[in-house]
Amino acid sequence: MFSKLSSKVNFIAVTLLFLILVVLRETGIFNNYVMGILMLACISIIMTASLNVATGYLGQLVIGHAGFMAIGAYTAALITKAFANADILNGSGIENFFRFIIAIIAGGILAAIFGVLVGAPTLRLKGDYLAIATLGFGEIIRVIIQNLKICGGKGLAQGSAGQALIGINRLADFYVVYWITVLSLAFLFCFARSRYGRVLKAIREDEIAATAVGIKTTRYKILAFSMSAFFAGLAGGIFAHYLGTLAPGTFDFNKSIEYVIMGVFGGMSSFSGSVIAGTVLTVLPEALRSFADYRMLAYSVALILVMIYRPQGLFGSYEFSLTEQLDKYFDFTNKVQARKEKKAAEKKAGKAAAGEGGEK
């Protein structure tokens, strides 16, 4: 179903969207405010998609995802600060780009390591218990960060515990973040559609049966969990470098729930759903500011309704496919196929003609 053609189509679509955004931004139609919201939407998309791997594919409700985000955010922020202090990669343009990329990847890796540390013991638990364990872990992370000197005030050696971490270089550039989001989604999508993804689904459907056919369930669970944590850490790093300030209370239980809400709305194993829910639920409250007073109230009611009428989330596991849509309206694949064949035939004919010519 996902032939080379569809990846080409998707790549073109994503690039087109990018170009449109570039034009809109450079001409000033999308001002800093709108770009800021779009940046937050990208962060939400990565968070929701990463949560999908654990919640949708592995079938384990994680309600401490903000903990991993916090690890990524603080790690990345402290790394760029340390680089700036040591005057490494502390210039402009390309140097900042590399500093940013190194920092957020490091944040992601540390979050992934914690994912393994947390996952290895707790993934033996099932269902509700695992959810509660992740919640407990998220709280532990928060309390520890709040009490670390290097994570507050100006950070590093000048830090003071309990304060907001301030003065983080705002290195997150929308263009870069856009492509990070695209790459993350592409990676997670391929992962989910790969052999590994199918194994995760098998574990989700029946763990005992999966074990019986020789799947080392714990290993796969930890793999998926730490991958989920990696991308949460990555998103955290971007968040830190967009905001420039990290307050100790940001990554609390409610933050975790926010992403669970997005994941559920989008459909727990649909990446297209993550993109749509992440974008809509970030943009909507801004667009309807007066409604925003009752945002959480509306969310909670909507969430209950979704649980009653569509327990698998709005999109379920449906993935939007641009190629399919094109097929539906333009008979795209067949046309391309026909064109290819025609070209090939022409080539053949040409070759044959050339061959004939050669023979002469």
Binding site: L16, L19, I20, V23, L24, T27, G28, I29, N31, N32, Y33, G36, I37, L40, R142, V143, Q146, N147, G152, G153, K154, S160, A161, G162, Q163, A164, I166, G167, R170, Y242, L243, G244, T245, L246, A247, P248, G249, T250, E286, R289, A292, D293
Partner: protein, 382 residues
Amino acid sequence: MKKLLALLLAVMMILSFASCGDKKDEEKTQVDLGVIAPLTGSVAQYGTGVYNGVSLAVEEINAAGGILGKQIVIQKFDSKGSETEGVNAINALITNEVDAVIGAVISSVTAAIAPLADEAGMVVVTPTSTADTVTEGYDYVFRTCFADSFQGKLAARYADKLGKTKAAVLYISSDPYSAGLYEAFKAECAALNIELVSVQSTASKDDTDFTTQLTTIQATGVEFLYAPCYYSAIGSYIIPQARNAGYNGIVMGADGYDGVIPYMADPKSMYENVYFTNHYSKDDVNPVVQNFVKSYTDKFGADTLNSFAALGYDAVYMVKQAMEEANTTQDKEAIKAAMADINFSGVTGSFTLDETGTPQKTAALLGFKDGAEIFVESVGLE
């Protein structure tokens, strides 16, 4: 494919033309004042106080003819106490080209918006963010309140004045306000040779049980406890639990105690020996204060009358004064310069600003008697 590219190019061109018609610097006929405050969420009570104070001041100014003849129009943004929402709000206000911004209320939100405002050259006056660092290094960011380090120092000096050589602390380790006050108190205690015999902390400002920490503090026999917490915890939990644990010494706090009276448990006598530093005293005979207290109470009732409201009220008048002294409501560079040199007199005192944009003023030391606030003295750093 070619068609598509052509279409794209066409779209790009239309869009670039559309944005060519740049707005000229016309003289606006009104003063746009942005306000960023948490109006919903868990810290809404502070934001509500500030916003009430701001709207009262704006109403008064508009009734008296506005600033340089122009009426003030408020653009309010709810930060919900979140840094993310705060950044969204300041971006929107910068885009809307407002003339000045009052906000944010919580220090961590102000810390997030300060660099953005400074970069964009937007004058920001935060009424209530007391964290030391929020205005440091930002030319365009000012405040109406004093900083945490000031209040922490005052508390240590008050302990010294009372002849205490030992003190204990109970603070909220996750709360920047509380942790900041503790750090300042600790530093000044070290300078004054006051020994901190017990430092206790609690994880969240929503905690309700402090008995264990207070028992530990009581066991050290100390007579001065610095507890920079918030009014509801002080009134409902900390003081009753401290007195139950047998601690009858002094409990000292900062402006977070303002508003404690409705939360006092019986008997009210246990709140004697509780002191705090505040931005102003409601009982101040200064007509400016009395006028404010009266108009505020008439409009919003006495329930939300606290220093947050007073500071919000003063912040608007600071902006007004700076604009009048600069003789412009739009030239932000000139407004900034006038603000930096301001010599202001309002509800929360008379002051000038130091190089970080922080007022140099005195604080009111308040205590309690029979469940009512009493003014003890005016304290400063000389």
